[in-house]
Symmetry: C2
Subunit: 250 residues, 2 copies
């Protein structure tokens, strides 16, 4: 039996199976299929389980959020942005396929993300709204980051918006009610902010003393776990995910 992450990877490969023009789909596949820990898809599918649904029901939304995440990385790496020629140990998309193709591959990945979200087997309309909302929010966070804006705003939007959308889409795909959705959004907001604080610590560019950041991460992780209280399904995978993310080393 393939694991759920293997099923996500298989569906991503299928969704990216186009060939016309070849360079576009090659660039899109390079962006999505070379590496990636699939944290957001796992969150999405675990949210479906936490509301008592089946992980399978969240497969399309799970792939959609990974496509959206991937497009943001492709555009972040561009020379006009972070100017990163390497991503996950391989050439970044622009370094391999040129700037114009990287801009366009990112654009197509965003469209494909929405196309994929709409394929959810239930609540597709609300799921589409959630991912589109996150699509705007993540750019707000990125622009605020480039402009040296408010640190809380950046934390809230740059990373956490995609976590929140992943959890909300999973809850909706799993058939959760509005209370379930609210609980899972709260969980995801906390682990999303903790994830970014952890990233800053690992990169050595935390704006806070390391001790302060570590304390904030622990408090957010506890708050995330507390938010799961009252959900009807199995929350153990989400508890484990919150703890794993708080302790990660890369």
């Amino acid at each position: 039996m393939p694991t759920m992450t293997e099923r996500v990877n298989a569906l991503l490969a299928e969704l990216l199976g186009g060939s016309c023009p070849a360079v576009l789909f090659d660039a899109m596949r390079h962006a999505v299929l070379v590496g990636g820990k699939r944290i957001r898809p796992q969150l999405c599918m675990a949210a479906a389980e936490a509301v008592g649904g089946r992980m399978e029901d969240a497969l399309y939304p799970a792939c959609a959020i990974e496509l959206l995440h991937s497009y943001t990385l492709v555009h972040d790496d561009l020379p006009a942005m972070d100017n990163d020629a390497v991503r996950r140990g391989a050439p970044s998309v622009w370094a391999k396929y040129g700037e114009a193709n990287a801009i366009l591959a990112g654009d197509a990945l965003q469209a494909l993300a929405f196309r994929t979200a709409v394929r959810a087997p239930r609540n597709a309309e609300r799921i589409a709204a959630a991912i589109a909302e996150a699509g705007v929010g993540v750019v707000q966070g990125q622009v605020a980051d480039l402009a040296g804006g408010d640190a809380d705003f950046i934390l809230r939007h740059k990373t956490a918006d995609l976590f929140v959308a992943a959890a909300e889409m999973g809850a909706l795909a799993g058939g959760g009610n509005d209370d379930d959705v609210a609980r899972l959004r709260e969980y995801a907001l906390s682990i999303g902010i903790a994830f970014q604080l952890e990233d800053d610590l690992l990169d050595g560019d935390s704006p806070n003393p390391a001790g302060d950041a570590r304390r904030a991460i622990d408090e957010l992780t506890a708050a995330a776990v507390a938010a799961l209280d009252g959900l009807p399904g199995d929350v153990a995978p989400l508890v484990a995910m919150a703890e794993r993310l708080a302790e990660r080393k890369s």
Copy 2:
């Protein structure tokens, strides 16, 4: 009474009313609200009328397709793409707000387009699927154009995909059935290809002798009008639009 185009412009201004971060929304407003003939929104609303629905029902999809179209222009103008510093007699978005902000403003416009499409009062799920499909197709056309690909493929996707989606979304928002949708897609495909041929003629970079292109435009316009046969609503605005586009001077 405001005209429908005035209502589109008012709704676009409302949808783009955000302010955080200011530079992002300023850039997005500049991209959408400075000029633009609103051809695609008019097509979308006229399609709703052609199936016997109300133009008002297609207001959100009409704005959505204009937001999508606007993002493609923002990205097309980038230095790595067409390197155009001027658009509609004003500085292009990158020339005014910088390259990074232009990439990100385009990204946010695409997300906002999907967010707006999902707000259609009926058939939102199919409408979301149609615009996302077009979002992928338009990039395929653009990459093929940059790579010097097949001329028919470029014509089909680079321009016509957005026309087809505009018509399909309007038909769905107006409550049309599958036959109505098919007729309006056929109409839009023909005028979309004619529109691009006309563009190439006006720009003086038609790959065909002018007489051949003119003949093709006339044939496509006639085919478009013929495709409207059998629709239950008022098709006069679509007939007029097909003729107006075939004879435009800019």
